[in-house]
């Protein structure tokens, strides 16, 4: 039978059998599963990942030993701030509290990382102008970082709402005080998120100055029954910069 196969094919077949057979033997009989089985690789990866060292201990752990600080902090503006956000990774400290101490930021340049004024930061987030606000003094001189109330209650709205104040100061409403339109309870200065000022919610409110026939001489007048249909005035006119509708 083999004589019927052309000589070339016979010779080639030997080469092919050696190569293919050798490969199959190597792959299925010789190589160990640890080299081939993807499942084993994935498991060992998970094991290696899980065994990695933990550097941040987690906010819940700190209160276990530092109860007094935790209690004070739980009442102030920083109550939802994790201890390690400021003090850095403290897992080593939990394991050897006496020798390994976490970093405690005391310099003026630390707090502005969050609290320096930045136009992209959400309004209402407490921000200060670093150059003007008590220059050179470390922040902790006046603010306890675990209960960071300002030492005195802010007198002006612009203390927290500086960007709005700046905008309004160069607008037509520069001489209209904030409380003219916003009824602000005293408590807002102490608990700004819980107690909020009001916003005018009727057309007649703006109409007090701006309707035809009002006594206010310098305010532009419109016919309240037709101008702007039924919408509230500030849906088009930005009250802090009313010229630019």
């Amino acid at each position: 039978m083999f004589e019927r196969i052309p000589e070339q094919i016979r010779r080639l077949a030997i080469v092919f059998v050696i190569v293919i057979g050798g490969t199959l033997v190597l792959r299925y009989l010789i190589l160990p599963p640890s080299l081939i089985e993807t499942r084993l690789h994935q498991e060992s990866t998970i094991e290696r990942e899980v065994a990695k060292q933990v550097k941040f201990a987690g906010a819940v752990v700190c209160g276990g030993c530092h109860e007094d600080i935790a209690t004070v902090k739980g009442k102030g503006f920083h109550k939802s701030l994790s201890c390690e956000s400021c003090h850095g990774p403290a897992a080593m400290h939990t394991e050897d509290p006496m020798t390994v101490k976490p970093f405690a930021p005391r310099q003026r340049k630390f707090c502005p990382l969050c609290h320096a004024y930045d136009a992209s930061r959400p309004t209402g987030f407490p921000q200060i102008n670093l150059t003007i606000h008590n220059p050179l003094k470390p922040c902790i001189t006046c603010h306890n970082p675990h209960h960071p109330e300002p030492p005195t209650v802010p007198k002006e709205c612009s203390a927290c709402h500086a960007q709005i104040a700046r905008t309004k100061a160069v607008s037509h409403h520069a001489l209209v005080s904030c409380t003219t339109c916003h009824k602000t309870p005293r408590q807002h200065r102490v608990s700004p998120r819980r107690v909020k000022p009001t916003k005018p919610d009727t057309r007649e409110f703006c109409g007090k100055c701006h309707r035809e026939g009002s006594k206010r001489k310098d305010a532009p007048k419109i016919d309240l029954s037709t101008h702007g249909e039924r919408y509230l005035c500030w849906e088009c006119h930005y009250p802090h910069m009313p010229g630019a509708a």
Binding site: I36, I46, V50, V54, E84, A119
Partner: protein, 262 residues
């Protein structure tokens, strides 16, 4: 005639190889490397008392809460030994400034965080905000699809991991990731990326970035746990994901994501 005999012989030879003792195990166990891993060959969980099938991790990001302080990026670098150079990062925060003339300026706040690089007049700003970014741990991950050796894979609890001992450093996954979440680690010369701090979350801790976020802009949770911050987040907010048209099913859910964010 000889052809039939030859083919029969060949078939016999191949079948004995395939169905030999080792071959069966290889064929069965190795057939679907994409099937998520939770147990080893003996059926034991790889972590004491932890059943990955009971969890599905995801992250929520409330864009309006982010203050761009970069604590998250620094915590991640410390927790995961990320190279300190600015060209490799597992997570980053972008600043968007949209001006009144509709032009958009974007920058990575890690490269100089004293305000926007380009001097922008405050009065010109229409909207401005920060957007934290990280690996989206997609449910249909293109990076897993293109890895030639199967070094990157999805776990059963929804995290995409990289086997740094198998990765050959070809860089295909880095090209395939639409979010730029992957990089080639300069020391190991293998691919690397955010792992949701897998080593922390399986022990019930939060990822480092979520842990240190001062405003709670980053939320972490278990989609299979009915009582979790993340589930409430999903209920109360209109959820966006990045690049939905690419059908990667990301598991990082953004609330209040502006249309200009890519």
């Amino acid at each position: 005639m000889y052809r039939r005999g030859f083919l029969k012989g060949l078939l016999w030879f191949l079948s004995t190889c395939v169905f030999s003792r080792n071959g069966v195990k290889n064929v069965i166990a190795g057939t679907n490397p994409d099937a998520p891993v939770s147990t080893n060959a003996n059926g034991k969980s790889t972590i004491e008392g932890y059943d990955p099938t009971k969890h599905r991790y995801a992250m929520g990001i409330d864009v309006d809460k982010c203050i761009g302080c970069n604590r998250c990026v620094e915590a991640c670098t410390v927790e995961n030994d990320v190279p300190p150079e600015p060209f490799f990062t597992r997570t980053w925060v972008e600043r968007y400034v949209i001006k009144k003339d509709k032009s958009v300026h974007v920058e990575n706040i890690a490269n100089g965080s004293d305000g926007p690089k380009e001097m922008v007049e405050e009065a010109d700003i229409l909207r401005s905000f920060f957007v934290p970014k990280l690996c989206n741990q997609c449910e249909n991950p293109p990076c897993v699809q293109v890895c030639p050796v199967g070094a990157t894979f999805s776990t059963e609890d929804g995290v995409v991991l990289i086997d740094s001992e198998r990765c050959i450093g070809c860089g295909y996954c880095i090209q395939a990731c639409p979010y730029g979440a992957r990089y080639l680690h300069p020391k190991t010369r293998t691919a690397d990326k955010c792992t949701f701090c897998y080593h922390r979350i399986v022990k019930g801790m939060l990822p480092a970035c979520v842990e240190v976020c001062p405003t709670g802009a980053r939320l972490f949770g278990d989609l299979k746990n009915r009582a979790s911050r993340l589930v409430r987040f999903e209920r109360m907010n209109k959820i966006h994901v990045l690049k939905p048209h690419l059908n990667t099913h990301p598991k990082v859910y953004y609330a209040d994501l502006d249309g200009e964010v890519r």
